[in-house]
Symmetry: C2
Amino acid sequence: MPKTQPPRPRKVENPRKPFERHVPGIRYGMLDDVVGYAIRRAQIAIYEEFDRELLPLKITPPRFSSLLLIENNPGLTQTQLAELIGVVRSGMVALIDFFEAEGWVRRDGKAGDRRAYHLRLTSKGAAHLAVAKSRVAALEDRWSSRLTPAEKRKLLALLDKVGPPGA
Amino acid sequence: MPKTQPPRPRKVENPRKPFERHVPGIRYGMLDDVVGYAIRRAQIAIYEEFDRELLPLKITPPRFSSLLLIENNPGLTQTQLAELIGVVRSGMVALIDFFEAEGWVRRDGKAGDRRAYHLRLTSKGAAHLAVAKSRVAALEDRWSSRLTPAEKRKLLALLDKVGPPGA
DNA sequence: TATTGTTATACTCTATAACTATA
DNA sequence: TATAGTTATAGAGTATAACAATA
């Protein structure tokens, strides 16, 4: 009996090239002097690698910072955490739901106020976060490989001063 | 005849507080040493103001950089522009459609290749971009108000070196 | 066979508004 | 009357996959 032709493997379109910050021959105009664009460029480059290393752990940037803030400030409420990372309360619900489903975070009742929860890491969550932290630390080392420790400190300090004076 | 009670103005919930980068009393753990998070913090603070100043002009960050790249490199194709700003081709279509609908950008036929377009600013687009540029420049001045010119140059140079060595 | 622009589609984020149960 | 968490919903933004016209 005639063998059916297996479907020819479709050529993968859009083999996403890694983002290139300064393409030779392109004139960027004032973009090269705009802090906001320099930040955007650096962020694209950084997030690409963050996703590649941490998505297998189901960790995204907002998840990472949320878990870290819960670890360092046990008992935070959802509203407090939402303000800390700059999202609205309703957006925090799905995030904590996910953490709970993974068994990483507990919603503990708050004594004296039955509306609110205290957020705490479970031991499983703490162990998972430890793995994530070491990967992030490794990424940081790689990212900073072209910076001296003094330059990195300088960069952090300068970033902290950028933006509207009040922030 | 009895006047109908006008609906009592509902209290606005979620009066969005401006993002605060370092909340007193909160422990940020290793987040304070992570370049990626420092960048994220600065970006949130910066984009809030960008939106407030530029959205009335219908300008968003990707629109701004796209228009600027078209101005400085007239004749770019959509695929080239998409790669420059780090989005896929299909995402560029809606962006250019919008520019065309506003009358800011023309799709010129490419001689010798009827598949592609050369993108160019219209005079209306150039004029609009000029206004946007001056507002962005003003924002830059405000954002950099706490940085000396030398510090700003240093920041741009350091941001350029952050990330995977190849980028 | 490859490429340009396009469409269709879906998924993630995140926002607003309204609801509930508490306070 | 206000607040914590929640739900419903909608709008950006951006991704993948497939397609037509063209190379």
